[in-house]
């Protein structure tokens, strides 16, 4: 493990918050993408059936 000395709190919290924010951004982006794609596929299927 890296020895961070007196700056351990600052460095670890900076990296921790950054990772959490980036993961939240990616997960939220992916989830919305999947949800909208499923809704669009369903709407296009309905349109095909109804002519």
């Amino acid at each position: 493990m890296v020895e961070l000395g007196k700056y351990a709190g600052a460095v670890l919290s900076a990296y921790g918050v950054t990772m959490v924010l980036l993961v939240l951004l990616m997960v939220a982006t992916w989830r919305r993408s999947v949800k909208v794609k499923a809704a669009l596929d369903a709407a296009e299927e309905r349109q095909k059936k109804n002519g």
């Binding site: 000395g5 700056y7 460095v11 900076a14 990296y15 950054t18 951004l25 982006t29 919305r32 109804n50």
Partner: protein
């Protein structure tokens, strides 16, 4: 073949669908090794001690916060001039990434500022213009949500984007305009004397490349979602009209 052809939603979806897996792969290949290199394999800096490791997230996120707004400005201008829907939706798709990058830059800057300057925050020109840029990102996203008609929303957010560009540029050049303030000059420079030393510079470049690719990947996914959302609304409207 003209570049403008990719403003066609069908062509945009086809091309972005092909390149997206490659961009996601390249993001993983640059960002993960870059952060590991910066965090685990770089020495302490003479002036900053181990706190220098924050540079690998603070500098790329701050650069992205500014440059994403510039990208939004360009795509907003394309919308205003040429009325290509994909360009307006790309600006919308980029905004959340820009907001997150601004929050990371502000937070890591404050965390770094406390041991270096003795305070988390100062009304320094660069810090203040960055805070205003953060508020512009919030306002931009709120405006998209507040207006029902997507073309009107695209018009008004494009105007807001043009106004906000002043603060995006100020965030970048405030240190040059005003010499007072706590924030030091740019960490990266074409002048080798002013640039950070190679031992920090190389992993920093890799992290910057990783952040750029991450932005492109997330922005493309979000833009594709916006294109699909627009198509979905059109189909639902058609369904409602035929039912009525």
């Amino acid at each position: 073949m003209s570049l403008w052809e990719y403003a066609n939603p069908v062509k945009f979806m086809a091309l972005s669908g092909k390149v997206l897996p490659w961009i996601i792969g390249l993001t993983a290949l640059t960002l993960i090794p870059g952060l590991i290199w910066g965090f685990f394999l770089t020495p302490e800096a003479e002036n900053f001690g181990t706190s220098v490791k924050i540079i690998y997230i603070h500098v790329p996120s701050a650069m992205m916060a500014i440059n994403i707004w510039v990208m939004m400005l360009v795509t907003s201008l394309i919308w205003l001039v040429r009325r290509h829907h994909v360009s307006a939706l790309a600006a919308k798709g980029a905004a959340m990434v820009g907001l997150v990058m601004t929050v990371i830059a502000l937070f890591t800057g404050a965390i770094w500022g406390e041991p270096m300057w003795g305070t988390y925050w100062a009304w320094d020109p660069r810090l203040t213009s960055f805070l205003i840029l953060f508020l512009f990102y919030l306002g931009y996203m709120a405006l998209w949500q507040a207006i029902e008609n997507p073309d009107t929303a695209a018009d008004l957010t494009a105007v807001l984007c043009i106004v906000g560009s002043v603060f995006a540029l100020l965030s970048r050049y405030a240190v040059n305009f005003w010499n007072q303030g706590l924030h030091q000059g740019a960490s990266l420079s074409m002048d080798k004397e002013e640039n950070v030393s190679d031992v920090f510079y190389q992993p920093l470049l890799l992290c910057i490349a990783g952040f750029i690719l991450l932005f492109v990947a997330v922005m493309l996914i979000r833009t594709r979602t916006e294109v699909r959302t627009r198509r979905l609304h059109a189909l639902e409207t058609r369904e409602r009209m035929s039912d009525g």
